[in-house]
């Protein structure tokens, strides 16, 4: 049975939530206990946090790893991970930067953005991926005989929040970490620059919002969900100048492919639906006969002016 490693992302001394999911992903692949790898500089606290989730933790502590530059991290991982291992990543912009190259260096198979594991058959790992914006899914067979690098879409596995692993942290030497790519800085987005096409979750409002003042209800929900969310809208909202044109979804606006599209008070005109190219479509509309329910995945008959604040409140409570 292949040894399973999980690379854990962390920021500002805090592990990202996906760590709790990767432990369960690892369990779906192997019954052997998985090993977490944390790379960084001055990361004792992170390694300790990882040890609460994983039975074994390898800590690679090096000043060159202060920022997770994909090229440097890859070098460190190649030095630490034995051939033939399975390496798990959370699928994100870091894994897209690091994992494909790692698979080449480890001579391992590579599969990214999986949304399920259907089991292991001998040395073949059977995973589920989505294509065409989630319209269809595929089963993919991954030959693990020489190892595999697997990036798992966050949310695929339930998080293990027990934090009872009581794992041990061992330090590993990173080796040579010279790189041809150097991290400079992170540039934050300019305020007011809304790009709804990049959001994972769109809280999209239509005529059902009734009044300009109620726009705030959608903004509140977006704030509650967090960074990945943005507020978008249908054309009448832009026409009424309640929101800027850059937030409009539809054939005369933006084409979006979020993970979740929450159509709030949108009846679902052809022109609007033409702008939605994937993701789970959740429709909330007070009219049970609204055409949007024909195409939505999930429907809720409710007045959004009442429903949105209730949802926001619940999400805030959960935090």
């Amino acid at each position: 049975m292949a040894q399973v490693f999980a690379y854990l992302n962390h920021k500002n001394g805090v592990l990202e939530d996906a760590a709790m999911e990767l432990i369960n992903a690892a369990k779906a692949i192997s019954s052997e206990p998985a090993t977490a790898i944390v790379c960084g500089s001055g990361i004792d606290a992170v390694a300790t946090a990882a040890a609460a989730i994983f039975p074994k933790v390898i800590k690679v502590d090096n000043a060159a790893l202060d920022y997770p530059n994909a090229e440097v991290v890859r070098k460190a991982l190649v030095n630490v991970i034995p051939a033939g291992s399975v390496v798990l990543f959370a699928h994100n912009t870091f894994s897209m930067d690091c994992a494909p190259g790692l698979s080449v260096k480890l001579n391992a198979s590579f599969v990214a953005d999986i949304v399920g594991i259907d089991g292991v058959d001998g040395s073949t790992l059977k995973v589920v991926r989505q294509e065409f914006g989630g319209v269809v899914s595929t089963h993919v067979g991954v030959d693990m005989s020489a190892g595999a690098v697997v990036a798992v879409r966050p949310g695929t596995f339930a998080p293990d929040e027990s934090k009872a692993a009581g794992g041990a942290v061992t330090a590993a030497d990173a080796g040579d970490l010279s790189a041809k790519r150097k991290f400079i800085e992170i540039v934050a987005p300019e305020a007011g620059d809304v790009d709804i096409t990049k959001a994972d979750i769109l809280v999209s409002i239509g005529r059902g919002i009734e009044d300009e003042e109620n726009i705030q209800l959608a903004m509140d929900l977006k704030e509650a969900i967090g960074n990945a969310a943005e507020v978008s809208c249908s054309r009448p909202i832009v026409d009424a100048k309640w929101l800027e044109a850059s937030r409009q979804v539809g054939t005369s606006g933006c084409t979006v492919k979020p993970k979740v599209y929450m159509a709030c008070g949108i009846s679902g005109s052809f022109q609007h639906l033409g702008g939605i190219k994937g993701g789970l479509l959740i429709a909330i509309n007070k009219n049970p006969n609204a055409p949007i329910f024909q195409v939505a995945n999930v429907g809720i008959v409710a007045n959004i002016v009442e429903f949105l604040p209730a949802l926001t409140e619940k999400i805030e409570e959960m935090k």
Binding site: D239, S252, S269, F270, Q271, G274
Partner: protein, 687 residues
Amino acid sequence: MEHLISPAHYKFLGFFPGAILSFLYVIVGVGLFAYIMAKRVAPLVLAKPDNSRFSDIPARLMNLLTIWLGQIRQPRYMTAGVLHIVIFFGFLTLGIRTCSLVVIGIFPDFALPGLAMDQPLGFLYNIAKDIMATAVFIACAIAAYRRGIVRPARYAVPEKYGHDHTAEAVFVLAIIMGLMVTESLFEAAAVAAGEPAFLMPLTLVWIFAKILPSSAHGFLQFLHIFSYYAHNTLFFFFLNFLPMGKHFHVITSFFNVLFMRVRRGNIKPVVYGITAEGLDELESIGVKRLEDFTWKHMLDFYSCADCGRCSDQCPANLVKRPLSPRFITIKARDLMFKKYSWRNDFQFGREPLVGSIYEADEIWSCTTCGACEQECPIGIEYIDKIVDLRRGLVDEGEVPQTLQKPLQALSKRGNPWGKVEKKRADWARDKEFAAECEVKIMENGDTAETLYFVDSITSYDDRMVSIAKSTAKILDACGEDFFVIGKDEKDSGNEVVRFGEEMLYQELKNHNMEIIKESGAKRIVTSDPHAYNALKNDYQVDVPVEHISETIMKNIKAGKIKLKPIEDPSKVYTYHDPCYLGRHNAVYDDPRDAIKAIPGIQTVEMVKNRDRSLCCSGGGLMLFYEPHEEERMAVIRVKMAAEAGANVIVCACPFCMVNMEDAIKVAGLDGQLEAIELTELITQHLE
């Protein structure tokens, strides 16, 4: 009393003959004018060809008779129109007088044949020209007051388009008034000095003759000579000043109207004389630089009188999109004057128009509704120019991002949404509908004499398929044997050609033409005015093309269909003319008559109707791209319908329906106003 010495016999400083001075005036004035005109005409000779302007002579003569001489478009703006008509006919009348006057300065007894004072016609002419001079004087005074004091909004020049044009307008009005005054004074001085003549009471000359002291012979002599040469000076100045600005139209409007568009609804070929097959060989297509315009389009630039009617009617301008047709012309004219200066050598620069005098968004803002062309009193064209400029942008790859997808989809799938071809006739296969009305579909091998050409939006849009179904039911009720093409029908391309993607349009057209031919259709009916226009005016298919409103009326008249009384007689209906049915094809009455054929229906007209209908903004792929605008055209339109007291706005076009239904919600008129498509209304009332 002794008669005054005529200018020809007058000796300046006691020796210099007036005749020679007058002759010099002619030499210098006419010579300079000829030179300026040669410099002005030269760019037209060098411009791109347009041989379509020399055919359809009867129609062109009719335009001259009605639009130029008859001034029929002037009273569409009543005050300015009436003033213009007075000045126009004043010019025609007094032009003769001025020409005679110029010669009289050399040969004092000169008179045009038949117009000598002792002949009846000459006597009448003399009275007529005095009346006209007075009328022109008054008209100019009122016009100057309007331009200078009242300042109607449509003359204003937005800051981005440069300085105000009022000074030039008032200056020219002053010159014209000066011409009238000097002409009158010249004659009045002679009459006051005792020359016998009949003067029409209350004319300028009559007033002057009354005022002038008959005793002051020397003064009258001075005035006679002075006013003559003042008139001559003003005239030659005016003549040479005309080609410097908006008053060039005094000279060019005759030609502009003669050569104006005579066909409706079509788009000019990329290059006249080059067939679609030859387009691949061209280095560049469309208008990218000033030099790429045709001579007629350059003549348009010269001819613009800056009256602002086009922009006043332009829906894009109304909603504050960055387009004002008036300035499409004025900016190009100014560039022509700069590059092809009458004083300097011509500069043939290669700088692109879009990016210098025009902005891309300005060019994409046009809906090709045609309101500007309908309004222009001298037949200036805009749609062909906009399309030519778009062709240039498309050729350079400068197409707004949101429009690239629909164009690619049109190319791959034959419809702008990228919907699968085989679902094109799915509306006809809808079980509930098929049970009521069976539609022959060509892909099943079923054809008939009459083809119903559905087009993309009506085939695929969940809301608009109702138009297809209603049309089919109407055709069925009329007893028509008809079919639809189904999967092999591609978008008509009406918007594609107007968008400037000529090659894609040619592909769509060639495909559809072939399929239509293959089907053996003898007649085509459409419900979408855009398809109607494309087939009729762009493709020019060799079978008759009908809009469903025409079919409906024909069958009502023939008694083949009967309509039952309106369900709710309290509702008031208003009809919204689609641009591609109304302005571009002059089908105004059939849809109205069809609505009125419903017994008991109450109808009302909106302020803007028929050829002044306000575009819904649906044309030209604008469902996929909207330039910045402050209000939506359709919102203004539905408010207009509500103001007219209508409860229902009847459209006869799927694009109008999309926009009106949206606009009713945006305007907050739900419950008060609804939109219905003509075919839906008729189907509801089929007996």
